[in-house]
């Protein structure tokens, strides 16, 4: 849309290869259809369940037992997503961007082939190309995985309640899904191969795990599934999962209605003909290395989003990179995308907001003697009356002593962590120091004043 603003002739090729179970979706990419949007809505559904429980302590009286209806929630969520898909179609049309629901792949210099779902092929040439094909969930490669397991691609439009669920993985996708499924009243188990939230501050990751465990989510640590079998067909059916220990020879078995795989995502770069135009990719990870102007090794081909090597896999990052690229190419702008100090939030039952370095990375980069960590537990006022945990919410900042005690890492674990973190991200971008933070008066009574 940005390039079209500058009078360039633009075309978008968007195509969703169906999941092993046949699921597909509309225009908008992962975030809109099978990522952030439905995730946050379902997380909200779970939070509302908790709020209903708390409400009794605040004086609300209701005698009926409150139930959750999966179909009602899913229908509402999918309806909203549908309106977003439609909104994008209208927006592209209005900005005169040509849209084709077809699978694009390079067939030669400056040329792509677009194949629609009926198999009809068309060729297009262009001056420049932008690849933003994103990623798809990885499967385990064990018997029964593609036939019986689901991924996040299937979960948000599942036409039946998943029931007793085994979530395989310890990524934020795994923990967020496990979190809201349990919040909706389902029996949830998380099977973890080694650590939680690799790449995130481990101190915070462990606190998240602890909280989830104390609130009814079972964790099976240091095991990996080796086989999934179907005991009974159904919606949901019954599945048997056999798992092996990563530290010994122990084998365990379990029965679940649904097995959700969330063990990682693989870049969609292997089947789009990159070899035909000479675009180098990291053979092991499938990611595309680019320079700081999002250009691949082939000058007329650019890439943004989750497929980039060593860049954060976040929607706002991809959007920003794309917009700035168009502005640099067609409007004479010079700003490059800033990948440092990008804030993000994990929407687990106890939300975690972060901007900047984890404690481990800060120590590694600056040396333990050069950083100072300030931290505090806090008890949200809203949690006092319903007697919810008084020592779980937590915040810490990491400061660089050598640079005026500049805040280089901000971490908060508590309700509305995303909202809290956003403001601090702006402050950190401006070079916030500990002294400035101390001299900022707090708003009372809110969690963020800590």
């Amino acid at each position: 849309q940005e390039a079209a603003k500058y009078e360039k002739k633009v075309m978008v090729l968007d195509f969703v290869t169906p999941t092993p179970l046949g699921n597909s979706w509309g225009l908008g990419g992962t975030c809109v259809n099978v990522g952030c949007i439905p995730k946050k809505l379902m997380h909200q559904a779970a939070l509302l369940g908790q709020a209903l429980q708390d409400s009794r302590k605040f004086g609300w009286q209701f005698t009926e037992e409150v139930q959750h209806n999966w179909m009602t929630m899913t229908e509402s969520v999918q309806n909203y997503i549908g309106s977003l898909n439609w909104g994008y179609r209208v927006a592209l049309r209005e900005k005169k961007v040509t849209y084709e629901n077809a699978y694009g792949e390079f067939v030669g210099p400056h040329t792509v082939k677009a194949t629609n779902r009926r198999g009809v092929e068309k060729l297009y040439t262009a001056e420049r190309f932008l690849i933003a094909t994103g990623e798809r969930p990885r499967y385990l490669g064990i018997p029964g995985d593609k036939e019986y397991c689901i991924s996040s691609d299937d979960l948000f439009s599942l036409p039946y309640c998943p029931g007793k669920t085994l979530v395989v993985g310890a990524s934020y996708v795994a923990l967020e899904c496990a979190g809201f499924l349990a919040g909706l009243g389902l029996d949830v188990t998380v099977m973890v191969r080694s650590i939680l939230l690799r790449g995130f501050d481990q101190d915070m990751a462990n606190k998240i795990g602890e909280y989830m465990e104390e609130h009814g989510i079972n964790f099976i640590r240091e095991f990996v599934p080796i086989k999934v079998e179907q005991i009974e067909e159904g919606t949901p059916g019954r599945l048997k999962v056999v798992a092996k220990s990563t530290t010994g020879n122990q084998i365990i078995e379990g029965e679940y209605n649904t097995v959700l795989l969330a063990i990682g995502r693989d870049a969609c770069t292997r089947k789009i003909g990159l070899d035909k135009v000479g675009v180098k990719i990291n053979e092991k990870t499938g990611k595309i290395p680019v320079n700081d102007e999002e250009q691949t090794n082939v000058p007329y081909i650019y890439a943004v989003g989750d497929i980039l090597e060593d860049k954060l896999e976040l929607t706002p990052v991809a959007i920003q990179a794309g917009r700035l690229l168009a502005q640099r190419l067609y409007a004479g702008a010079t700003s490059k995308c800033d990948y440092v100090n990008v804030p993000t939030t994990v929407f687990t039952p106890l939300e975690y907001g972060v901007c900047g370095y984890s404690e481990e990375t800060a120590v590694e980069k600056f040396g333990e003697e050069n950083i100072e960590v300030y931290h505090s537990h806090f008890w949200p006022l809203e949690w006092t009356v319903p007697s919810r945990d008084n020592n779980k919410c937590y915040a810490k900042i990491i400061c660089n002593i050598q640079d005026n005690e500049r805040v280089i890492g901000f971490h908060v674990l508590g309700p509305n962590a995303g909202e809290v973190t956003q403001g601090f991200a702006a402050a950190i971008k401006c070079g916030l120091t500990k002294e400035q933070l101390d001299s900022t008066l707090g708003i009372h009574p809110v969690c963020a004043e800590v």
Binding site: N79, Y80, G82, S83, N85, W86, R89, V90, R93, E94, N101
Partner: protein, 122 residues
């Protein structure tokens, strides 16, 4: 078989007609009432109607096009009228594909390209 048009006035008649054709693609254009000379109180509806009518032949076979007059200006301005409450309409004219989130509102209905997209979208 092509497509057919049904003209209705008011919410209950609209719902009845939509239900009667359940199972077929249903497109609906909502406009303000017309006076004795056939002119609507809603100027945007006057502009949109010919644009929409010109694109009707793009609708898939078996489609039903419901042309619905919502009521007079006072009724429409009431924030609690049934169209606003139950169909979530926010303005007239509105052209929508019944049972889906796909719709075009106000000036969007003036654009033949968008209207065609609504009628032919999968």
């Amino acid at each position: 078989m092509g497509w057919e048009e049904k003209q209705v006035r008011g919410y209950p008649e609209f719902v009845q007609t939509a239900q009667r054709y359940h199972g077929r693609p249903i497109f609906a254009l909502f406009c303000g009432d017309k006076d004795a000379e056939g002119r609507s109180w809603c100027p945007d509806c006057v502009t949109a109607e010919p644009v929409v009518r010109k694109e009707l032949h793009h609708m898939p076979d078996e489609s039903v096009f419901i042309y619905c007059l919502v009521g007079d200006r006072a009724y429409w301005k009431d924030p609690n009228n049934e169209f606003r409450k139950n169909l979530k309409l926010t303005g007239v004219p509105t052209l929508l594909k019944y049972g889906t989130p796909q719709k075009l509102v106000e000036e969007e209905c003036f654009k033949a390209e968008l209207v065609r997209m609504l009628f032919t979208e999968d």
